[in-house]
Subunit: 265 residues, 2 copies
């Protein structure tokens, strides 16, 4: 079997999306990155701001937006329209042949509406399947994909979907065809031992170390779903997971900065 | 040389987009249409309504929206987000593997900001080039393209662009690879001799007949840019142009209804 080509799947966090200068720098670095690549973006505060402009009250539960019909309309407009297309146009200007997608496009990512528990999150999707043939077909056409965090259920319903999860599902779903490297890039330098000290980056986290860190309550609560996702990705065939600063993507991609996750010690 | 495969490029007008029942029927027919196909949609009144919700006054000149920065943001959200993604999700539900694009995606359609004359239309694009390799690559992957009327200038600027023109440019730009059939579908039965009589459809318009109709002031003013576009398309390699009712797409595609344009008598 010939060596697999590397595919970078890079999630960029909301705080970068909200900051024009940081986003421009990140996109310049993304455009310059060699090889096959996918950018997954969140929505940042733009959707919240749009809801305020439209005077539509937003309900958040456990840090997640409850997506009623009006909110779905807003996130579809802001994520798939405003943010996605401006990112694509900026990447084109840098010579990167980017193509923006939602999960509905080409049936790229299919999901189902989250089953109601104690909380009804509304039009929120949990991912069922990534269309690896479609996505790799686009990548092999020389396109870099820019994915908005919207999926569909195959029955005509769009669904608001967590961008971290989308990145992990893409990395997993494409791991048979590519050596997939999953990067969670955001405003922090990596997974920190002390959330107030950017120099306290943990360079490597293995499952054993993760258990220790969790037991010692050393992990910032907001980071736990990201790490859970990351370990699930490694267990499902993803080659590497890296977590770190979006503002210096080359350092993160090369392993010179950030936190690496590995199943082996 | 082997016979070219047929590609249908179908523009659907704003009044259909604004009517859920008519749009659903149109999309069902579009999904059922055999072979390679592209849907180009306008924006209808949704962008105007969104501007009203946001209390942003809109300026129209000669039936065209003046696109300031706020308006560009709105049309990007509404056309490329809300309308495009809902159409794509609906087509997927009908078994049509649709993929939504703007001209920025994959550098599909490049334009330049319209040169200021007496009127500054703002962020409005006049088309320079269609990326036929990109578009045909997607079509050959089995994808049906849904194009929103937004293009880019290659320098990072999105531009609001007339959907009729986009349809014509796609039909022309792809005419070397495909036998392209360009359809302008809307709420009318075709080009009418009497604008108040749906039974007065002119079945065939040649250049000579067009000159006569114009001289006799028989053509409804709003139809003239469409017809000018259509004849330009035929002169540039498009095989057929058909104008007629979006509500009965099979009849229009087959030539059983509507107006056909031809360079020959």
């Amino acid at each position: 079997m010939s060596a697999k080509e590397t595919l970078h799947i890079i999630k960029v966090g909301g705080n970068i999306i909200d900051d024009d200068a940081k986003l421009a720098r990140f996109l310049k670095d993304f455009a310059a990155l060699e090889g096959r690549k996918i950018l997954v973006h969140g929505g940042g505060k733009l959707a919240t701001r749009m809801a305020e402009e439209l005077k539509l009250p937003q309900q958040m539960v456990n840090g997640r937006r409850v997506t009623d019909a009006d909110t779905l309309r807003i996130v579809t407009m802001v994520y798939a329209g405003q943010i996605n297309k401006n990112i694509v146009a900026s990447l084109q200007a840098q010579g990167c042949t980017a193509l923006g997608l939602t999960g509905a496009d080409g049936d790229a990512i299919r999901s189902h509406r989250r089953v109601k528990g104690e909380i009804d999150y509304g039009f929120v999707g949990d991912v069922d399947a990534v269309n690896a043939a479609l996505v790799s077909g686009l990548l092999e056409q020389g396109l870099s994909i820019v994915m908005a965090p919207i999926t569909h259920d195959g029955k005509g319903q769009l669904l608001n979907t967590n961008a971290d999860t989308i990145a992990q599902e893409l990395a997993t779903g494409l791991s048979q065809r590519y050596r997939t490297v999953l990067l969670y890039s955001f405003e922090k330098s990596g997974v920190l031992l002390d959330v107030n000290d950017e120099a306290s980056v943990i360079p490597l986290i293995t499952p054993a170390r993760y258990r220790d860190l969790l037991a010692g309550e050393k992990i910032f609560a907001g980071m736990i779903p990201k790490l859970d996702n990351a370990f699930r990705a490694l267990e499902s065939g993803v080659d590497r997971v890296l977590i770190g600063q979006a503002e210096d993507l080359p350092a993160l991609v090369s392993g010179r900065s950030g936190t690496a996750l590995s199943l082996q010690d």
